[in-house]
Subunit: 412 residues, 2 copies
């Protein structure tokens, strides 16, 4: 089915809040075989809400609307929809009851009653949740209204919207989709290598730089299921041959989760010694649920003092070569592994800027060290961009350094 | 001026990439006194690109278009615009020259030539950049075309689009705007306290839950500059009185940057001992440029072993009370401060889930410890939500614990 997504909220059009819910909805709808025609982000503006919704109802098979359902005075979605679709607001006593059950201390039900008035015909999606969301079928088109608060919206989308849409009639195509996640090759090089594949019928290739990675999506659209499968298997082979070990994973994989799987398979424990990244590598790793089975932790050695006290890096080494040096990166990784008996350690020390650079070591100079199999080495990198970008690229490169050491069972 | 933002790219409507550029543009345009009527995210679909652009040209004063300007075959914005606005594509030799200068190894200029064909009338925004962006004035309406790659887009927006728009005629209103960033009060309580203010003329209040914080925006729109100033000063006083020290900062402040200022003023050094956050607190802190003057670093004590070896937490303490306990949180903060002679240390130990919870200590159980002025204490928290949310709330609460210790010069 083809759908449109409408996100509502003044906070979104003033840019104070990033709209992450639309992308989440699009991703999961797409993965479920639907296609998104357009996504709109508009303010709490009743006239525009009505206009955009009515236009969508004329051209797509379903609509997802998020935001503006809350209790504060700037939430106007229900009123706007009632007006635009000519559906009088009705008080839903079951919502009122649920609001009472979920009251925080120092809240009064009267302030929240607004949330219980929905446009006529609304069907509540989840009777049990405080923020229910609802479905309105208008001229046979399902319109899902979900809260703008990301975690509430996500739950309702996954548990109620997707199952409801799966049961709807109108799914014409067989879609096979996979995202290949790569690190280390420029986007244009990847594009060149896949040009011939891209020209084949029913196949669509997309190229998406995501921070320091490039994600390549393969989509096969076919009326016939078997044809879709065959084209997909063939295209998958072409892509994996063309991009080789620059592909670190697919779909839901992250660099950290892939590193975790490699560590688990080899029964190894990883540790990190972070200077300029200040905890980012550890953060990225511990986003993976269950990472405690393969990640010990490490040291945020932001100051030289901590490099000495917690990592046993020699004072002379720091003095003679500077904190940002091959020697110190090597010492950080090796001493940490020794000290805590971890099998593999990665270290980073660099200049993330905006200040701290010199002619000899400009902003973006980063050394990444790795200790593995009782060998240790470090490499110099020159990363570009602002502080955020340099730190992000450093984090990705450190994780990829661990991945390659585990894959080749050596450090180079 | 009132504008519309159009983001183009199949990666955005399939949700593989989150559209962060539109929110960035909206925020900076808003801060510069402009208003955003709507933002659209659409695929690399020439017909729809033309339709959305033409509708915008009829109703707003300016348009910002991002994405689809690159060299790969799925980038179709220039072709779509040329067609929709009836402006033949022209080869810009200066772009071709610049592309040559910026070639990566293993790239050929022929593959990138596509980027040098722009719709007739295009004026290049930045002659020096590889990805230039351009301005097209159509029926007196300025339309800015910017790359979709976030850091390129941001630079062009700040350095070229905003200055060009500032010089345009058509800015009717005086706008004063401030965002108050709060932590610790529920959104509905804040809304209640500001209801009377909200009802005043020319004043608009918005409420935005942003992860574990609530941001409150104050906007004053007046034709007259002095009236705007006066109303703004008065409303500012009402808000700061109503929300008190739940307000940690305004506008560009972050919890980490505010903690940094307090530390700098007091000449104190901070350190962190992180278990369940795995580096997130350090990451958040070191996002602040110059944080090395007030942040020493710390330990990612993810495993019990590291709590013992690097933080000197007694084995017996871990055995008797468990890693997630008041006693261990206290020991982590106190021992770290001792060991590295830091003035103030914050520690976290908790269960982020999805596994690892028990009846006694369910998922979301977190102890946050703080050592300051030779006193140490720890508090138990019960956070809700998934792993990401629990870790994020823990990080915010830890930073707020440091803020309150510094503000009151004590630990409680």
């Amino acid at each position: 089915m083809i759908g449109e997504i409408i996100a509502i909220g003044d906070e979104l059009i003033s840019g104070r809040t990033e709209n992450t819910t639309s992308a989440f909805a699009a991703r999961h709808l797409f993965a479920a075989g639907h296609e998104i025609y357009a996504m709109h982000t508009i303010g709490d503006n009743p006239a525009l809400i009505g206009e955009v919704l009515k236009r969508a109802l004329k051209r797509v098979d379903f609509v997802v609307v998020t935001g503006g359902l809350g209790s504060t005075t700037d939430d106007l979605t229900n009123e706007a929809v009632a007006e635009a679709l000519d559906r009088e607001p009705i008080l839903y006593p079951e919502i009122l009851k649920r609001i009472r059950e979920h009251l925080d201390a120092n809240q009064q039900v009267s302030n929240l009653e607004k949330m219980a008035w929905l446009p006529q015909g609304a069907e509540i999606l989840n009777e049990k949740a405080k923020m229910a969301g609802y479905l309105l079928v208008h001229n046979s088109i399902p319109v899902f209204f979900l809260p703008g608060v990301p975690y509430q919206m996500r739950e309702l989308l996954l548990e109620h919207v997707l199952p409801r849409l799966a049961g709807w009639s109108g799914n014409h195509h067989r879609v096979k989709q996979r995202t290949y996640k790569t690190f280390g090759l420029p986007e244009t090089v990847i594009n060149q290598r896949l040009l011939a594949l891209e020209r084949r019928d029913s196949i669509h290739i997309g190229y998406y730089p995501v921070n320091c990675e490039v994600h390549v999506s393969l989509t096969v659209l076919e009326e016939n299921k078997q044809a879709a499968e065959e084209k997909f298997i063939d295209a998958d082979r072409v892509i994996t041959d063309a991009l080789g070990d620059a592909i670190y994973g697919t779909d839901q994989d992250t660099l950290a989760s892939v590193v975790g799987k490699l560590l688990q398979d080899r029964h190894k424990m990883l540790s990190v010694a972070e200077s300029c990244t200040g905890g980012m590598i550890g953060k990225r790793i511990t986003e993976v649920a269950g990472s405690s089975t393969w990640f010990a932790g490490g040291v945020i050695a932001y100051s030289n003092r901590l490099k000495e006290i917690l990592l046993n890096v020699d004072h002379d080494l720091l003095n003679n070569y500077g904190a940002v040096s091959e020697q110190v990166a090597i010492a950080m990784a090796a001493r940490l592994s020794e000290r805590i008996s971890s099998d593999i350690s990665v270290s980073v020390t660099g200049i993330a800027g905006p200040t701290g650079g010199s002619d000899e070591k400009p902003v973006g100079t980063v050394y990444i060290g790795i200790f593995y199999n009782n060998k240790v080495t470090a490499h110099l990198h020159h990363f570009s961009g602002n502080r955020t970008r340099i730190r992000d690229t450093t984090t990705c490169t450190a994780l990829d350094t661990v991945r390659r050491a585990l894959l080749t069972d050596s450090v180079q």
